[in-house]
Symmetry: C2
Subunit: 294 residues, 2 copies
């Protein structure tokens, strides 16, 4: 798949741009390990961690080479030669980029590090951490969420295709039906959030979509535990689905202002409801669920 020397001018496997490497290994420390001549690099003092420097270098190369998601990067062995660092150091640099969501590691032949597409997971994690330390409350989240959702619905108006409308209708139907057991009620809550993320996907502003998904992610993990516990959720769920239906109706006739007003009202109601349940509780006890990736 990757081995095409055709018109694609992209630097394939292992090429990348500058092969700096080999940084002044001259001053090798005299103390040689038992393995005889091991030309140990001098991890110069004063600098940042070597792994971070290398990570930054790899990052720069990804950008300057204009690599797209799915493209392969040089395998570990080549990087060891290029940078003149040990395997562990290279692996740490790769780990940094992996945690940042820039690359993914793939085992087996033709494996190695590959450029990962953008994913909101890293931003979600970072903002979750922030919420944990900064004692963010339900009020704070909804203040932000309201602003984002209102802007989003205005931006999405007139840009929603038929398929998306159908998905929205289906989600409304799920959350509108009366829930009998807890599992079903939980599914309803999920559908309510999914309504907002599906709507956000329709907006052309990817940054806005990201923010809304992050906020939704924080809220679901915050309310997941007792999403089905409270009896209030029954009435509330009904109210929610009515708002959702009204918003979709406004969007169908491409009335951005009405949709925005409804969304604002919807957020205000949801804010009031959740504050009734949780009060001024900070999210410090809910953030940072382990959450497996991918």
């Amino acid at each position: 798949m990757t081995d095409d020397s055709g018109p694609t001018a992209k630097p394939e496997r292992g090429a990348m741009s500058g092969a700096t490497g080999d940084r002044g290994k001259g001053s090798g420390t005299s103390s040689a390990p038992p393995g005889a001549t091991t030309p140990r690099r001098t991890p110069r003092h004063g600098a940042r961690k070597r792994s971070s420097i290398i990570a930054g270098e790899i990052r720069s190369r990804i950008i300057t080479d204009g690599l797209d998601p799915g493209d392969s990067l040089p395998i570990e062995k080549l990087m060891i030669e290029d940078f003149g660092a040990s395997r562990a150091t290279i692996r740490e640099a790769l780990k940094e980029l992996e945690v940042q969501g820039l690359i993914r590691m793939k085992t087996g032949p033709n494996g190695g590090p590959i450029v990962a597409g953008s994913s909101p997971l890293e931003a979600l994690q970072a903002i979750r951490n922030f919420c944990y330390f900064e004692k963010v409350t339900i009020h704070d989240i909804y203040e932000l969420r309201s602003a984002l959702e209102v802007q989003m619905v205005q931006s999405a108006a007139g840009r929603i295709d038929a398929a998306t409308f159908e998905r929205l209708d289906a989600l409304i139907e799920i959350s509108a039906a009366p829930a009998s057991d807890e599992a079903e009620r939980r599914r309803q809550r999920e559908a309510e959030f999914e309504f907002h993320t599906v709507l956000a996907e329709a907006a052309p502003n990817r940054l806005l979509t990201l923010m809304i998904e992050v906020i939704a992610g924080i809220l679901v993990s915050a309310t997941a535990r007792d999403s089905a516990r409270h009896q209030m959720h029954g009435d509330w769920s009904c109210e929610n689905s009515r708002y959702h239906a009204d918003i979709v109706a406004a969007l169908r006739r491409e009335d951005a202002e009405a949709a925005a007003a409804l969304m604002h009202e919807h957020m205000t109601q949801a804010h009031r409801h959740l504050e009734l349940i949780y009060g001024d509780l900070t999210l410090e006890d809910i953030a940072l669920t382990p959450r497996e990736r991918d």
Copy 2:
């Protein structure tokens, strides 16, 4: 306050909560001689990477123990025993948490991993990555920025103390004065952005503050290169500082609505101006500056 049970309920160095550890490896104490059978853990097929699992475990312990920034975590050696993993694996787990900004490593006696306070840098980096891959435009950013800043100024109204007002006045004065050389013009641009971040700091919503700082960070790195190049910036800067002065005046008389309206107008103007310069240019060539940490 999650900690009950007496005065100093915080688990000091190395205590943490559950000492699960010791999975399998019954003969742990008998340090295996170099040539002996290494009781290798089975990295089971379906499972995730061991380092990520351990990282999640450490993360959970930080939360359940209610650790605050500055608190110490067990040193590597203890973790090796607790988790029954090799040093490289432990270090990879620690690296993951470090990249996520949750911990910092400290060398020397009394060193080890310590809980790092919340920092917007990780969120900034994650969102920058996202912008790089998703081809976010100036329009997208300003759509979001406008919503955030308007909400922020409403939230900050009536909560600004005298010292903050003075700082804001000083920043306005800097950007209002006519710029002679490029360096000065660059300083003006910085002051303009700083106006918004200082204002955001006054808002009680930390999450909103974070978002605004992240957006500002993306914009400065996007416009830093040619912030002083364009002649237009002269007039524009003048207009900006007038808006800033008007907003501050509205905030002084605690007129949230007027301040919000002015901010909205300000954002619209800024949006128009930048789009005039950059057009529909995506940010993919500006994001991801290496940026050294701390």
